[in-house]
């Protein structure tokens, strides 16, 4: 296993110039194009963007679970100094679930329908200490798990930690017998099992009702605080992003276009896309919704220069030729736009 750095001051995760292409029969889709950001210790950042902007793909790259037709063409993902992109599957075993962990988008689909919640939890717990268990066939495993008292107790404790009571009943239930909110909590419990330092939350709560997702978000916030986690929170809901994160990263068409503190970004958005988003959201105070004209460009032949240039109200000639770099304006507010790039 590669040596991790013990640099206390640096960021926990440093993504540099990440470029990912996807092979499809129509051609090569250059989806992720030069993504750069970092995550500091005990910080929660929100990766915000619409469908297809590449936020899920970025998360998958960080966790090393890219689909088979995806190719990392360039860049580094440095976690405590180690480039995750260069890890072998064998090395990943010490990272995934232990240092880095993920909460999936749709909890009902992410749980194994053939095993009870208890069996799945205990399976994971045993896997932490005894990886050989994974090699046993399904039936032998079930029998073996029944005997593991320590794992059972730990599983009960974990479920109570995420406020699932009565824990024994949940342990005995199959995924189809529990509600969406409960399943989401189980997934959160599973993600926190290995005491990770970095958590990737992929749109948790989007498949749930608003009152229940509020409770889930409350729970997540509490856990993040208690455990001092660093979190990448992926969402398309700007309000949720504002609530849960300290910094917001806005992604558009495979690029990070703006980075700012959550409480400031909507007060003064700088990038035309962010400005457009702000005007388009239906809220309780503004009655008018103005949409952004045009549509997301194709990734197969992406436009030259800034990928937003076909839709931007303030497009200039240089936008069609040169890609703007992410530049730090005062107060840790980064924008990738030629309007602010007069250097």
């Amino acid at each position: 296993m590669p040596e991790m750095s013990t640099d206390v001051d640096g960021p926990l995760l440093d993504v540099r110039n990440l470029k990912i292409h996807i092979k499809s029969f129509e051609g090569l889709a250059e989806i992720i194009d030069d993504v750069c950001f970092n995550l500091n210790k005990k910080e929660v950042i929100a990766l915000v963007g619409e469908t297809g902007c590449g936020k899920s793909l970025t998360a998958k790259a960080i966790l090393g679970v890219l689909p088979s037709n995806a190719e990392v063409v360039g860049g580094e993902v440095l976690y405590k100094g180690v480039d995750l992109l260069k890890l072998s599957e064998h090395d990943w075993r010490s990272y995934r679930g232990k240092e880095l962990s993920m909460i999936p988008q749709n909890p009902m689909v992410s749980l194994n329908p053939l095993l009870t919640v208890g069996e799945q939890l205990m399976d994971l717990i045993c896997l932490q200490d005894q990886p050989e268990i994974a090699l046993l066939p399904y039936y032998i495993r079930r029998k073996k798990l029944k005997k593991e008292k320590k794992a059972y107790d730990k599983a009960i404790k974990i479920l109570e930690d995420v406020a699932l009571k009565p824990a024994e009943r949940v342990m005995r239930s199959y995924p189809f017998q529990i509600s969406g909110g409960m399943a989401q909590r189980v997934c959160i419990a599973m993600a926190l099992l290995g005491n990770p330092s970095l958590l990737v939350a992929d749109e948790p709560g989007t498949s749930l009702d608003v009152t229940i997702s509020k409770v889930i978000l409350d729970l997540l916030e509490q856990k993040i605080r208690d455990l001092g986690l660093s979190v990448i929170f992926i969402t398309h809901n700007l309000a949720v992003a504002r609530r849960i994160s300290q910094r917001i990263l806005v992604m558009y068409a495979g690029n990070v276009v703006e980075v700012c503190d959550s409480d400031k970004i909507f007060a003064e958005p700088l990038h035309p896309y962010t400005i457009g988003l702000k005007k388009a959201i239906p809220t309780l105070i503004q009655k008018e919704m103005i949409s952004i004209r045009g549509r997301v460009p194709s990734y197969i032949n992406p436009p030259r220069g800034c990928r937003f240039n076909t839709r931007c109200d303030r497009v200039m000639d240089i936008c069609k030729l040169e890609k703007p770099k992410l530049v730090n304006l005062e107060g840790n507010h980064l924008v990738a736009c030629h309007l602010y790039n007069r250097r």
């Binding site: 009702d209 978000l217 959201i281 949409s291």
Partner: protein, 326 residues
């Protein structure tokens, strides 16, 4: 031309569960339980609630996709709850529906032209040439170019699919359009476009919308009146302004307080109720009384369960079904 385009009286839709080898009924889901309201022509109604509230079932029952168990549905002066066959088919031209998931509401094997002209085909309207012309006209209305005529749903984006869905709903010139979560699966920027489009179409074609959604901010901006549903029952009914500025039912307050907001100014507008953790029981409970009892932060006690629920006009034109006000 009646003043009230839609009137629903004591509408009930129950689903009876059959269990056992002999198939004897052994449980009932009261998806819609005694719902009444009226809609004035041109004034949109928002139906708000979470999953399991019965709002989608309500929409589908009004559309006669389900047969009501009890109650009356009046569409422009005609009672439609018991119509069948040809009579029902005729009535269907007056009200149409836009479904929640644009991806599955369009037949993947058909192209856009075929999907939009299907209603004309089914009702025998126009010649082939006329239908093609009408298809072009409808595409124009939803701001899609003629190039879309021969595309398949697989080659359309979410927003485009939803537009085609809307075009199909407008093919027969209906009076009422039921919109079931029209923008829930769409991105924010696309959502704005669709909602603006719907507003324009309403003015142009003199439509009345019934908007079913869980997204309160959309309801705020689109509807004139709102009803709030919980577990099949109507808990609050009033103008949209009233429901948002002065929510009277504890559930409505819970719903509004759960809304995450972007702007600080919005926070000031929301109530500060405290919701309880989810222990959502299914509606097969035959328990009497208020269905929100388990989760209600303001429950009174025995009275909530024993009192017969009814909608009371607590303030002017503002109806609530809650023991607090009885």
């Amino acid at each position: 031309m009646t003043y009230n385009i839609v009137e629903v009286k004591n509408l009930k839709k129950y689903f009876f569960l059959k269990k056992g080898v002999l198939g004897t009924a052994s449980g009932v889901i009261k998806a819609v339980d005694d719902v009444s309201f009226t809609i004035e022509r041109g004034k949109n109604l928002g139906v708000v609630g979470e999953s399991g509230s019965g709002k989608t079932t309500l929409g589908k029952t009004i559309m006669r996709l389900y047969d009501p168990t009890e109650g009356e549905i009046w569409l422009d002066g005609v009672e439609i709850s018991k119509l069948k066959g040809y009579e029902l088919k005729k009535v269907r031209r007056r009200m149409q529906m836009v479904f929640q998931d644009p991806a599955s509401s369009l037949n993947p094997r058909r192209d856009v032209r075929s999907i939009i002209t299907a209603p004309l085909d089914i009702h025998g309207v126009g010649t082939k040439k006329e239908r093609l012309a009408r298809a072009k006209e409808l595409l124009n209305n939803v701001e899609l170019s003629e190039d879309y005529l021969y595309r398949r749903p697989a080659n359309l984006s979410g927003g485009e699919k939803q537009r085609v869905s809307i075009a199909r709903a407008l093919a027969l010139n209906p009076d009422v359009v039921v919109l079931d979560e029209p923008t829930s699966s769409l991105d924010v920027s696309v959502q704005a476009k669709i909602l603006t489009l719907l507003a324009d179409l309403q003015k142009k074609l003199k439509l009345t919308y019934i908007l079913i959604t869980h997204d309160l901010s959309v309801v705020r901006n689109v509807t004139d009146n709102t009803i709030v549903m919980y577990h099949g029952r109507l808990v609050e009914r009033s103008t949209t302004d009233n429901v948002f500025n002065d929510p009277l039912h504890p559930y409505t307050q819970t719903l509004l307080s759960s809304l995450p907001v972007i702007f600080d100014e919005e926070l000031a507008l929301l109530p500060k109720a405290k919701p309880l953790p989810d222990t959502s029981a299914r509606q097969t409970d035959a328990t009497q009384g208020c269905p929100f009892f388990d989760r209600c932060p303001e429950k009174i006690g025995e009275r909530c369960l024993r009192e017969e629920l009814r909608m009371l006009e607590v303030k002017r034109d503002h109806y609530v079904s809650c023991a607090k006000y009885y």
